[in-house]
Amino acid sequence: MTERKPPHSLAALDARVREAQSRQAGAAAKEPAAAAGASALGFAWRVGLELVSALVVGVAIGYLLDRWLGTKPWLLILFFVLGSAAGLLNVFRLTSGLGGTVGYRKAPEAGAATERRGNDDDDE
């Protein structure tokens, strides 16, 4: 090998080193990367899974509470509905870019202007 690529210019290297250092020092946390699942199929998978898993948890809670309290079908029915709602909530969070997380981190900006009645919990 006599002919080699010219070495990177020192200036470019310097810039990269400084960029890496500033990253180490820690720029502010970015938005959580739009949660994984690159393909559309993967996304569809996640949506179905979020729906079903919340439903499973709801039904399990209802069933166990029923067995414990002896109120046979009623709590199961109640928690079935709550579980479905939680599943839809999960999907809503997933699709509206809140990530697969509990909470509404984006809500304060959007919600503060429109929501008037929510002043009951003022301590933030």
Partner: protein, 245 residues
């Protein structure tokens, strides 16, 4: 990959005890699943120790791979959690490498895929879930309860919304574990089913054979992708625990 006909495509998931051990009522035998997990741990350790043995300034192939793995997880953690996240690097890196090696070892013919068992993935997910919950309570104390109260909602709706939020929170380990488990189970079953057709179809068997080759490539992608998904969701949960709304 395809053992000759007559075998069920699900036979690859069978757990067989190698060293039977019984503690009281519990069967804690050392199984083929345990064996593969130990192999995975040894491989990870060897991969990192051998890779970083020389610590050259210009890395060789193994050092390069070890560094890529490190940087990948470090960047993931920094992008999702921020600088605070560095403290949780060891656990995320461990989980990522364990899942990744579990998935990849499963792709070696005649081996065993421990990530295709719900109990393994669920144990990982519930460990993450409990750890993150403890972290949140340790960080925020009673403030943690506010996690389940949607902001800007009138008190009249709390009895309805708080159970929904709690169910949504409890569903995390389930969706986390089922995602990994279902992907590995489905992929490996599909491979075996197509491989079975290769013999059944006789001369036309090269068509499913082509599918098996293509699916094997896809399985490699999925092995990496699912390890990545598991790691990034762990990061997101840690982020949630650190910064409650």
């Amino acid at each position: 990959m395809a053992q000759a006909g007559g075998h069920s495509p699900l036979e690859q998931f069978r757990i067989e005890p190698i060293v039977p051990i019984h503690l009281g009522k519990f069967d804690v035998s050392f199984t083929n699943s345990s064996l593969v997990m130990v192999i995975a741990l040894l491989l990870i350790t060897a991969f990192l120790l051998l890779g970083m043995r020389r610590q050259a300034l210009v890395p060789g192939p193994f050092q390069s791979m070890a560094e890529i793995a490190y940087e990948f997880v470090a960047n993931l953690l920094r992008d999702t959690v921020g600088n605070e996240g560095k403290r949780y690097f060891p656990i995320v890196f461990t989980i990522f490498m364990f899942v990744l090696f579990g998935n990849l070892i499963g792709l070696v013919p005649f081996s065993f895929t421990f990530t295709s068992h719900i109990i393994v993935t669920f144990a990982l997910a519930i460990a993450v879930f409990i750890g993150v919950t403890i972290l949140a309570i340790a960080r925020h104390g009673w403030h943690f309860a506010k996690f389940f109260v949607p902001p800007g909602v009138s008190v009249a709706l709390w009895p309805l919304l708080i159970p929904i939020e709690i169910i949504s929170y409890l569903s995390r380990p389930i969706s986390l574990s089922v995602r990994l488990f279902a992907n590995m189970l489905a992929g490996h079953t599909l491979l075996k089913v197509f491989a079975g057709f290769v013999f059944a179809l006789g001369f036309a068997g090269f068509v499913p054979l082509g599918f098996v080759v293509a699916l094997s490539g896809l399985e490699f992608l999925i092995a990496f992708l699912q390890a990545y998904v598991f790691a990034i969701l762990t990061c997101l949960y840690i982020n949630d625990a650190l910064h409650l709304h």
